[in-house]
């Protein structure tokens, strides 16, 4: 960490309860993801599985800036977002198990988590495909004069898609309340940013659409949170969309089918030294906000929650095959 960043961190005051809350959220995600990987190896979970390990500070920090009435549109690497948004680990794991008690009755799986209660609109697995949806949700809010924000997560890979450019242009043109959160983990699957983009400073793309933009250290939950809060306040007040780039890194492979030929072990290790969780733990401890006993308790709680979620998923049932064609069309005849 450079001197300026250290100074900035020191300036950020933090309440103990809030610090523990942020840490708890990141730990819950980390433990859920580790368990998911284990369950995948045990063939309890199939299909594609994209783990969020290393990127937890982004979802956790950004969610702090949202109200329950806001909407979230996420990507296929969205277990962490779903959990941080308030979906239960049980509903998420049951979904990955393909069970009818899962959040989408087992129809979506890992890449397609949805939840109406928390306004969580996927789990979108076409890179860039969620951005227009977010613009539309924001348009609906603006037309209905609702002071809500739609928060749209996407990766650096999506920035190369036409849908990114079309969407950010439209959101800016119509001054829509969208918080665009780019999780820049430096790789579009296995293709490095500099092999994808002629301009690798992604905030410059947003600036080209006259959209306020900022890049933050996505490994620092406090920095993400502060930036997201400032951004969402502007978006909510009618200042138009905002582009928040969170510079982060995925510690695990892209999916479970990835031999990681495209990056070096040294690079991965270097980023791991910036792991958002241990670094935040150190910081809280240094500030006297966290004891070993606190940490043990947080770990125990997370382990218990994930353990219960696994037990729940194990006990869940399969949707009857007779229901296969339910919900191709609505069962209600009219809207």
């Amino acid at each position: 960490m450079n001197a300026e960043a250290t100074k900035k961190q020191k300036k950020m005051k933090i309440e103990r309860d809030h610090g523990l809350h942020l840490l708890r959220q990141m730990l819950r995600i980390r433990r859920l993801e580790e368990k998911s990987a284990e369950l995948y190896s045990a063939t309890k979970i199939r299909g594609f599985l994209h783990l969020y390990i290393g990127e937890e500070a982004v979802a956790v920090g950004v969610m702090e800036a949202l109200t329950p009435e806001d909407a979230v549109v996420a990507t296929y690497r969205e277990h962490g977002h779903a959990l941080a948004r308030g979906m239960s680990a049980g509903a998420i794991l049951a979904e990955m198990y393909g069970k009818q008690e899962g959040c989408c009755r087992g129809r979506g799986g890992s890449m397609h988590l949805f939840d109406d209660k928390t306004r969580f609109y996927g789990g979108n697995a076409i890179v860039g495909g969620g951005l227009p949806i977010a613009v539309g949700l924001a348009l609906a809010d603006k037309m209905q004069k609702k002071d809500r924000v739609t928060c749209c997560f996407f990766g650096d890979g999506a920035v190369a898609e036409g849908e990114f450019h079309e969407s950010i242009n439209l959101a800016a043109l119509w001054q829509l309340p969208v918080l665009f959160v780019c999780e820049n983990n430096l790789y579009a699957m296995g293709t490095a940013l500099e092999l994808s983009e002629s301009v690798t400073d992604l905030t410059r793309k947003a600036a080209g659409y006259d959209v306020a933009a900022r890049a933050v250290d996505g490994m620092n939950v406090l920095e993400v949170e502060a930036a997201a809060k400032k951004a969402s306040a502007g978006v909510r007040s009618g200042a138009g969309p905002y582009f928040l780039e969170c510079r982060t890194y995925r510690f695990r492979a892209h999916s479970m089918f990835d031999p990681e030929l495209y990056r070096t072990k040294d690079e991965v290790e270097e980023w791991k030294s910036r792991d958002p969780i241990p670094n935040f733990i150190d910081r809280l401890k240094k500030q006297g906000l966290l004891t070993d006993a606190d940490l043990e308790q947080l770990e125990r709680e997370a382990a218990m929650e994930i353990g219960e979620a696994v037990a729940f998923a194990e006990a869940c049932t399969c949707e009857p095959v007779e229901d296969l064609t339910r919900f191709v069309y609505s069962e209600r005849r009219k809207v």
Partner: protein
């Protein structure tokens, strides 16, 4: 024309669609129209002319040229509680939004286990016949009819142009409405109280006993004209207007075939893998023993539609192609 049917009034297909949009805008404040040049330009086929002045730019929204974004925005707005009507200039352009239509609009409800339905209506022009060549003239409605989760409407008559939109807007799921571009100038009579029509059923447009022609869209009028010509030869053709390609109303055409025992499908789409193939397969599955002759299909010749008038005419289904096929079919005695 007001004589004879005093209550009827003259209207074009274009005006019928415009009236339908106006009605929807008045009835439901959640309804808005969005698309390229729908506002200041008045719509590329002049369908929405005057609506911007009447309803303002919040509800008649000109979009940039970004089919994927504005169709996806329509999906998001529908999820967010609005009732958008998205206009895409032509079906060929809809391919730029195919991701949103297929991967999002059609999948969300099922993929979310029933949580999120998408009450979106997308209107677009389709079809050849205006010498617009290979990037503005294709008929891909049958292709969209392949996709579970979508409903595909093909209004041919003035009543349907006027009436299908509201019913589509009331539908909780995504509905695509295909307006054949050769029909916009078609004029006819509309009753003064013309309003919503049901969208689930095909309609018998002409009664007959010798042969059933199954068709939709602009081909309906070619089929009716051919039926008129054939009647002069004593051949009585029944003409069915499918109206909706998904879900297909099998019952109506199967009932007709049980009477006529012969079926000819006229489709402006291509033959291979098209909706005509689907209809033919359903007839084989459900009415094989009713048939006195093999099912025949008249489709667009399998070429990208050319510009030159004589070539385009040669590629599309025409009355003078329907007549000899029908004549030949009734000569077969099963």
């Amino acid at each position: 024309m007001n004589g004879g049917t005093g209550n009827m009034r003259r209207a074009s297909y274009r005006e019928a669609v415009r009236e339908a949009i106006r009605e929807a805008m008045f009835k439901d404040e959640r309804v808005f129209l969005m698309g390229e040049d729908v506002g200041r330009y008045g719509g590329c086929f002049a369908v929405s002319k005057g609506l911007l002045e009447e309803f303002g730019p919040e509800r008649i929204r000109d979009t940039p040229l970004c089919e994927s974004a504005f169709v996806g925005t329509g999906i998001g707005a529908a999820l967010g509680g609005m009732r958008p009507i998205v206009e895409i200039m032509t079906v060929n352009f809809s391919l730029l939004a195919a991701d949103q239509i297929l991967n999002n609009a059609a999948t969300y409800l099922h993929m979310s286990g029933g949580l999120f339905n998408v009450p979106l209506v997308i209107r677009m022009a389709t079809g050849g016949g205006k010498q617009l060549a290979a990037q503005h003239s294709h008929s891909l409605e049958g292709w969209y009819a392949h996709i579970p989760g979508l409903k595909v409407l093909t209004p041919a008559t003035l009543e349907d142009a006027r009436g299908m939109l509201w019913t589509a807007l009331e539908d909780p799921d995504p509905v695509l409405i295909f307006e054949n571009n050769t029909l916009y100038n078609m004029e006819g009579e509309l009753p003064p109280d013309a309003g919503p029509v049901e969208i689930d059923k095909a309609k018998l447009r002409r009664q007959g006993r010798d042969l059933t022609i199954i068709t939709y869209g602009a081909s309906l009028f070619k089929a009716l004209e051919a039926a008129g010509d054939l009647a002069k030869e004593g051949i009585e053709v029944e003409v069915i207007d499918l109206r909706t390609l998904r879900p297909l109303d099998d019952e109506t055409f199967l009932t007709s075939i049980a009477k006529t025992h012969r079926a000819l499908i006229v489709d402006e789409g291509w033959r291979s893998g098209g909706i005509s193939a689907e209809i033919s397969a359903r007839i084989m599955e459900s009415a094989f023993y009713e048939l006195d002759a093999p099912v025949e299909r008249l489709c667009t010749v399998e070429v990208p539609l050319p510009y030159a008038k004589h070539l385009e005419e040669a590629a599309l289904p025409q009355v003078d192609k329907i007549v000899p096929i029908a004549r030949k079919m009734v000569q077969i005695n099963g």
